[in-house]
């Protein structure tokens, strides 16, 4: 044991003596994911960058000002992927296994998460919660399954040759090397809407506003995103000014 090793060990001993107690399962579940981060998102609310793929066509929408620069670090993306490999909706199991095998053989890929079609649908519903017509038009079989990758040091260039290969691999639809998953539509400012009676199929009419007591019984938009039993826009309506 060298002097350096000894000193590193001593330092760790001092540092780790201050480790807090682990949070209990109850404490963890009582949290609302990203609660502490939402205020940052208010500033980004006008920016949407959607990379959703429907029926084999990549759809990208941008609205408002701003760009991608600030977004990846600020948006608490669920998985924070560096690369998304979209597969074809009709990809075979053997092709999925083959793609996964090639991904796993690459040591620079530190995390691989598979999104099947059900999970893709779940995500799609969340992202387009403000567009019920679009959500209704989609079934799991048209959405592409995908692999979400985290790359060592986020150095996507390091695996460029593999990604180039995968682009032409059977079953692969598209490789997105700079994915920006938008916040769910529900985190965005509700667009200006008409207060007149809604005509059938008119999705620009106003969503109901919170009740005077701050509860959200009338709010149908958006859904409860994180399963804590409280609709997120309610949370925003009640909590955001205080947080900010």
């Amino acid at each position: 044991v060298t002097d350096l090793d000894q000193r590193i060990h001593e330092h760790l001993e001092r540092l780790l003596a201050g480790a807090p107690l682990p949070p209990s399962v109850q404490e963890i579940r009582a949290r609302r994911r990203g609660a502490r981060r939402r205020p940052v998102l208010v500033g980004l609310a006008a920016v949407v960058l959607v990379a959703a793929v429907v029926g084999g066509v990549a759809l990208r929408q941008t609205s408002g000002e701003g760009g991608r620069d600030g977004a990846p670090a600020s948006i608490p993306a669920a998985t924070d992927p560096d690369v998304i490999v979209y597969l074809r909706p009709r990809v075979t199991d053997a092709q999925i296994v083959d793609v996964e095998r090639r991904l796993r053989a690459e040591p620079s890929i530190v995390d691989i998460e598979f999104f099947d079609q059900d999970r893709a649908l779940e995500e799609f519903r969340r992202l387009f919660a403000d567009d019920p017509a679009l959500v209704e038009s989609v079934t799991p079989d048209v959405l592409p399954p995908s692999f979400r990758l985290v790359v060592l040091d986020h150095d996507v260039e390091a695996i460029a040759p593999l990604l180039d290969d995968l682009e032409s691999a059977p079953g692969v639809q598209q490789v997105d090397r700079d994915p920006v998953l938008p916040e769910p539509a529900t985190d965005l400012e509700i667009p200006t809407c008409s207060t007149g009676p809604a005509s059938p199929g008119d999705h620009t009419s106003c969503p109901p506003t919170p009740d005077s007591d701050g509860s959200c019984s009338q709010m149908h938009l958006p859904a409860d995103l994180d399963g804590d039993g409280v609709a997120e826009s309610c949370i925003r309506a009640r909590d955001m000014p205080a947080d900010g």
Binding site: I8, R31, D111
Partner: protein, 151 residues
Amino acid sequence: VGVDPGAVEAYEKHASDLVTYATALVGPSEAEDVVAEAMLAVFTRARWSDVREPRGYLFRCVLNQARSTERRRAVGRRKESTIPVRAAVDGEEPADLGLLSMLSIRERSVIYLTYWVDLTPAAAADLLGLSEGAVKRYLARARAKLREELS
């Protein structure tokens, strides 16, 4: 939304290791938060039945959360550096982590696993889902930085 009992059991089994690990990654004041955020994601999103090696999986979740916490902090610092309260909080960070603050999160991770958990580079690589070579490189880089600082 139900939480998989297997995930809860795995967390409870490794909870104190995970918090110690998080302390080595982000310091004592942020450690609990990092573990809680990481585990919330595990409880609400992971398909526990797909997790093959729970301990390594949970360690990787904590590592990923630590990295995104650090990234967010860096952005926050740039944006809010003019707000005194925020600046004061940030000022405490280096002291919080001491010597390790000069290392990257992955370097801290490898230092902790090597010196505290006594893992070999191969075992650390296994746990982190990295190659053994990568772990050795991180370790060498971390030791070089620490040696320079301590000399």
